[in-house]
Subunit: 135 residues, 2 copies
DNA sequence: GTAAGTGCAAACGGTTTGCAGCCTC
DNA sequence: GAGGCTGCAAACCGTTTGCACTTAC
């Protein structure tokens, strides 16, 4: 469903492998985890216009090549896909984040949705708390 | 840890129970689930200035009286704390919402958080899909 | 050659803030 | 009466878009 190579969308999307797109894809490949468009733009040190970074990331997200989510402070952050699906456990004080997985939750949401006649199910789950350091 | 009444913050915060704050608190009490500041502002039909709604919601969130999270499209959304806790199953097309409960999920999030040393745990879970009518 | 991609700058939409007046304590 | 609270409008900040130019195919 989602390709490993963000640019291997030849079939339908037909994204041209331009310098800029390659640079963005490379950045996503190199820097692990979630990053904002602005962050990527500045890591590329102006080599790619900010608007282009946004357009590229949006396109990649639509093509399913990257995951997008919102950070706590309102930025859209992206990471290259094909990690296992997981959720975030976030400290309210310091913002420290732990990734957690839960097959049971995945199953539950799916069942719950289908019992109600819903299809194409997706979900978001965030857990908030106070971590040991901040107690 | 979190008070039932959003304005019962007498001890430290000392929020004055003004007309506007009461209106916002009442709105949160009346309308279940998550709502954006703009939504609350328009539900109050201009009775409370937009800036004040933002300020009030921010204050309530800081006081721990309401939960805040980011919606998919970048708005900050709030809900009053301590409802009979349930989650929402939302149709992507028509917006129809079904409330679902899941003791197993509640337990799982709690365990997961505590295993990682987190306390004062809360969580948000939203399920998205396409409902029967919209297929 | 042509359509897709790019950069720039202006537009946008949600949120925050400065300031003068108002209201609660 | 004093300091918190409010409304308005302007400022902010991340993101999107219009447009003329460039580039991959």
């Amino acid at each position: 469903m989602t390709s490993i190579d963000p640019l291997a969308t030849d079939a339908s999307g037909a994204l041209r492998p331009t310098k800029q797109r390659l640079a963005v894809a490379e950045a996503l490949r190199t820097y692990d985890g979630f990053h904002s468009a602005q962050e990527i733009h500045s890591r590329l040190d102006g080599a790619v216009g900010l608007a282009t970074v946004y357009r590229t990331l949006t396109a990649l997200a639509e093509a399913g090549a990257v995951d997008a989510m919102r950070s706590e402070d309102g930025e859209t952050i992206y990471r290259r896909c094909s990690d296992t699906h997981h959720h975030h456990l976030v400290c309210r004080q310091c913002g420290r984040t732990v990734e957690v997985e839960g097959p049971a939750v995945e199953r539950w949401t799916k069942t719950m949705a289908e019992d109600n006649g819903f299809t194409d199910v997706s979900h978001t789950l965030e857990i908030f708390g106070t971590c040991t350091d901040c107690r």
